[in-house]
Amino acid sequence: MPRLSLGVRLALLFAACTAVVSLVAGILFSRASAAHFVELDQQLLSNRLPVLQRILDGVDSPASLIPRLPALKEELAHQTDLALRVRGHDGTVWFASRSNLPDSADQTGLTTLQAEHSDYRGLGVQLPAAQLTLFLDITHHQHFLQRMQRLIWLTVGLSALATALLGAWAARSGLRPLRRMGEVAAGVSARSLTTRLPVEQMPVELAELARTMNAMLERLDDAFQRLSAFSADIAHELRTPLSNLLTHTQVTLTRPRSLDEYREALHGNLEELQWMAQMVNDMLYLAKADHGLLMPNREPLALHGEVDALLEYYGALAEDTGVALVRNGEATLAGDRHMLRRALSNLLDNALRFTPGDGEIRVSIEEREDGIRLEVANRGEPIDAAQLPRLFDRFYRADPARRAGSSEHAGLGLAITQSIVRAHGGRIQAESAAGWTRFIIELPAT
């Protein structure tokens, strides 16, 4: 089936509706008028019948009919479209006021009959010795009905055509907001993601669609902003260590130095390089996650066992800073051990960095019906609610002063954790309340 435009579709639909409606109306009207004519004819014929019957009273043979003929003809002359036929019971015609009247046999009651050139309404009555049939010429009625039928067909055709045209126009103007939507959408590019559809000016039916599209644009814009920021951040993050390396190396080479100085210079460079390599590796890991290539190699795991291994790993470091590590609860799941360890390690690493001395880091595991909830909580500075979701952004640091060159993460740790959690079908969120910072991972039941 060819693809029709909405406008054409609506126009055709309108035309069809009008045609059907006017056709039905026409047919009803035509039927009604036909019935009305029949009624009129019957009335007329019935009115005439008693007089004629009186005239013919006592007629029992063609001969007895003759003396009454003048009265009969006079009576018929009052109404020129009226005709009459008297037949004996044996079928012989005793009298007919006109030639070529249709043969009506012995019918009584009202019938519609056709002769050569005319149409008649016939009313048959039984007389004691004969049969009387009154005929009314209704040719002009029939002509009128035929004209009316033609008129009806014409009306159907014209009204259908008119509504098709009107419908096309209406559809066109009705669909204008949709076209405007299309124009706006066509104008959206990476450079103009801030364009929005005017929801208030949209018809109610389209407002929802416009809102949905605006929401989509919002998300696109957001993702694009993040991507742009990400690229800019990569450049920025790499620029600092690169500039350090360039400066340091050039300064070292400007004049002869002692062996120790060269060694020192190379060590300095090595640190920057290791930091950069780590960052590139982390970014590649995230890129893999973005492309859906982070596929957990699932195996049955005791989550508390993994947490304990990590707490043991970080134990000595925590002890040094006087931070207590506590684990509550148990749960088992099917997950990728290395990935989950990495995810949790980033959380613990983060918690350790922001927990003041003599603080505490609590890892709580809870096995629920719909999955597993794991919480890493540490006492620490409250974090602004607006910043909480941004903690998972790449390169995001709550404290902008802490930048590249330090021995710390490039700000990718929590982003990696989020990617791993998502690869496991779960989600992660951060909360900050009552002096506690909480990272909550929810993993679906497997």
Partner: protein, 226 residues
């Protein structure tokens, strides 16, 4: 020990060759796939280090040719791509290990040594030792100069690793992986703290220090002249 490096990036190849030669390996370098495959098939090497992306024949093709020729020589892949399929493909073809660029040379060296050791007979020692340090694997006891030392399980495992690979610089990532089974680059100073604690028990009371930090590379257990 004779090694073959097949790497088309001139600088990378040259640096690797220098590094491995200075680490005591006899190293040869091929700059393209064709030469690399010819050398791998004709030379008698203890280990092949193959770049995946090579002009002529890629690393996988070389590996396949080597395995088809019935050589069981260990193969270490270097690659700039880290796709899971790549890794699986390499391992299916019979690669022994896989390093993704950028990697640290110390990491490569540690892996090379592991692969070369794998070929030899696993030693069935019951005790490990260096200078006056003794580690008894069966009774799980450690002594320094006849004095018994009290180590935690992880400290014991760490010292065992250092002793087994004495003289080798062990990068932090390798230590984290071998002792704690943490197979990712965690850039915390967890390993530093662990080494410091081990030092406190092993070295602090003695003039003859055994655990040394190689800045930017890792840690090594060895006896150094005072």
């Amino acid at each position: 020990m004779k090694l073959l490096i097949v790497e088309d990036q001139a600088k990378t190849g040259q640096y690797l060759r220098q590094g491995l030669s200075e680490a005591g390996f006899s190293t040869e370098l091929a700059n393209d796939g064709e030469t690399g495959q010819f050398m791998a098939l004709t030379g008698d090497y203890d280990l092949l280090i193959l770049d995946v992306m090579l002009p002529g024949r890629d690393g996988w093709q070389i590996l396949k040719a080597v395995r088809d020729a019935g050589q069981g020589v260990p193969v270490l892949f270097l690659t700039a791509r880290d796709a899971v399929e790549d890794r699986v493909h390499g391992l299916e073809l019979g690669a022994d290990d896989y390093l993704v660029k950028p990697f640290a040379f110390s990491e490569l060296l540690a892996r090379v040594r592991t692969l070369l050791r794998r070929g030899g007979n696993p030693t069935q020692e019951t005790t490990l030792g260096l200078a006056d340090l003794r580690l008894d694997l069966i009774r799980r006891r450690v002594e320094r100069a006849g004095q018994r030392l009290d180590l935690t399980a992880k400290e014991f495992a760490l010292l065992e690793l250092l002793l087994r690979r004495q003289g080798e610089v062990l990068p932090k990532s390798l230590i984290a992986s071998q002792v704690w089974d943490m197979n990712f680059d965690s850039d915390t100073n967890v390993i530093e703290v662990a080494i410091r604690r081990l030092r406190l028990k092993i070295d602090d009371a003695h003039d003859n220090k055994l655990i040394h930090t190689v800045r930017g590379m890792g840690y090594v257990l060895e006896e150094r002249p005072a």
